[in-house]
């Protein structure tokens, strides 16, 4: 691309995206190699879920909501059920709250492990990627046993949870916690002492606390800028009303900070799971839920692995919702995206995007290049190659932008 350095090139990245509302594509205007302007173009994954919910009864809607995203499916159903229960005035049994909490923290573990693996993969640590994903299987195994599925666990229902935790299973959860804690500490130490990783992440994709407020970023992105945006703490719900979460913040404001926050959160999640399993009360796991909701509206939020998840339900008294609005965490983090990208090199783009939420599937999106005489279809791999070329001139790590097995 060196021969085109004098052109302003518009590079749109990505035609499609793995999950609802986060589908991303950026039109990036380059001045030389510098990102001058980044326009987010999303909607590739727009399926029309909200409309579909309006013609389904609440029972059916729950399963659609679960499939907004396969990575934080439990966060979405928790939020939706919580909204439903608030409107219906249901008192969820304490045991159900604890089970939701356990599944929620397990989900956080699996999601962050997934992320760590992808991050490791991006810097060429394929072996570490393999290890983290292997250990993630331990969590998935538990989730499959608790809910009956590895991805869309289907644990929640209105008024509680669908399945109880047997004592044998709880013992296994504790056992896995011990195993994982040991491994996590090893990986965390390894990942955070690796020379190349630090060089690659520090100072990239900066979002200051003011920016966080301005773009209303959530989750680890906000917490890495020192803002305590954790719904479990600012508005405790369910089990978190009884068991407090230790706040985890960091003030690096960059991709490195986001890595630190996620790594620490995994250890915190293990602590929480242990506590939940120890403290879980006996009793029923659900109460009978009505099929219809009274007239009204509700705004409910929970903390998903990637940040605050907000659901809105409006009911007109029928057995179908009148309006459902889902605001997933990554959706909130898109707003600051262009800001994070602007001023950095094209080569930084993949890692910055990955740092808000590496729902990795984006990486095999094809890339459509237009402008500057280029009109080519190429794949994500190629943009990594391009990045490498750029880094050479900048003297910073190019090789990390690589996606092998994906």
């Amino acid at each position: 691309m060196s021969e085109r350095n004098d052109h302003k090139v518009v590079v749109p990245i990505g035609p499609q995206h793995p999950s609802l509302k986060e589908p991303g594509s950026f039109k990036i205007t380059l001045d030389g190699e510098k990102v001058e302007r980044a326009v987010i173009e999303i909607g590739y994954n727009h399926r029309g879920i909200e409309k579909a919910c309006e013609s389904r009864n609440y029972m059916q809607a729950l399963y659609i909501i679960e499939r907004v995203c396969g990575i934080c499916s439990h966060a979405h159903t928790s939020c939706f059920c919580q909204a439903f229960e608030e409107l219906a005035g249901l008192e969820v049994p304490r045991r159900a709250h604890y089970i939701r909490g356990i599944v929620g923290e397990l989900e956080r573990l699996h999601s962050h492990l997934l992320w760590l693996g992808v991050a490791a993969h991006e810097i060429g640590f394929d072996t570490l990627f393999m290890y983290t994903w292997r250990d993630r299987e331990l969590v998935l195994d538990l989730l499959a046993r608790i809910g009956g599925n590895r991805v869309n666990y289907g644990v929640n229902t209105y008024g509680g949870v669908r399945r109880d935790l047997e004592s044998e299973l709880m013992a296994d959860i504790l056992r896995v916690c011990d195993q994982l804690e040991e491994k996590l500490k090893y990986y965390a130490a390894l990942a955070l002492t690796e020379t190349t990783l630090i060089a690659r992440l520090k100072g990239i994709g900066v979002l200051t606390p003011d920016d966080v407020r301005k773009f209303s970023a959530v989750g680890p992105v906000a917490r890495a800028a020192g803002i305590m945006a954790d719904t479990r703490i600012v508005e405790p719900y369910g089990v978190y009303q009884e068991i407090a979460v230790t706040p985890i913040v960091d003030d690096h404001c960059d991709v490195y900070g986001r890595t630190l926050v996620r790594v620490k959160e995994m250890l915190e999640a293990i602590r929480l799971i242990r506590l939940f399993v120890r403290e879980i009360p006996d009793g029923p796991i659900s109460v009978r839920a009505p099929r219809k909701l009274p007239v009204g509206e509700v705004l409910s939020r929970v903390e998903a692995p990637r940040g605050e998840n907000v659901h809105y339900i409006r009911s007109t008294g029928a057995d179908m919702p009148d309006r459902v609005r889902v605001r997933a965490p990554t959706e909130a983090n898109w707003h600051g995206m262009s800001h994070m990208l602007e001023g950095f090199q094209l080569a930084d783009v993949p890692i910055i995007i990955a740092a808000i939420d590496p729902c990795y599937s984006c990486t095999d999106r094809a890339i459509h290049l237009v402008g500057g005489g280029i009109n080519q279809l190429t794949d994500w791999e190629s943009i990594r190659l391009h990045s490498i070329e750029q880094y050479k001139s900048r003297g910073i790590d190019p090789s990390t932008i690589k996606m092998r097995e994906f």
Partner: protein, 148 residues
């Protein structure tokens, strides 16, 4: 010549390289596809490698219900692959549109856009099921060979 053809047919069965495309899935099936490459399932032991370029791949592993926006892209990728090529629809969404079929922005299944060779139901599909399906798909090649 017959021997070479046979050898090539054998190679085809033993070395299916895949390319993964997400056509509006919920992520669930996508993580499972990647999961299948990691130690616990390790697709490489069956000779399956994941490729980045459609030119290098034999099997298009497709997830998602095909949103209107990804429709053309899916076609493009399919056209870029060199023959013989296969398409595997991974997940309920990819089979028929599944839970999103009635959504207005979804065409409803991979086979509304490109021909599909194998359907794997499941939400999300387990890595085992993916491995099993690819195995079965390759077994049909055997049958075809016996037929001709």
């Amino acid at each position: 010549m017959g021997l070479l053809d046979k050898a090539i047919a054998w190679g085809e069965k033993k070395s299916p390289w895949i390319i993964h495309f997400n056509a509006g899935a919920c992520n669930g099936c996508d993580i499972e596809v990647v999961d299948a490459l990691t130690p616990q399932y390790d697709l490489e032991r069956l000779g399956i490698l994941q490729q980045g370029s459609p030119r290098h791949a034999d099997v298009l592993v497709c997830t998602g219900a095909v949103t209107l926006q990804t429709r053309d892209r899916l076609k493009q990728i399919y056209d870029q692959m060199s023959t013989p090529k296969f398409v595997v629809a991974v997940g309920t969404c990819a089979c028929t549109g599944g839970i999103f079929d009635s959504c207005y922005c979804v065409t409803g299944g991979i086979d509304t856009v490109i021909p599909v060779d194998a359907y794997i139901p499941g939400c999300a599909v387990r890595p085992e099921a993916i491995i099993d399906a690819v195995g079965k798909l390759l077994a049909t090649l055997d049958a075809k060979e016996a037929g001709k």
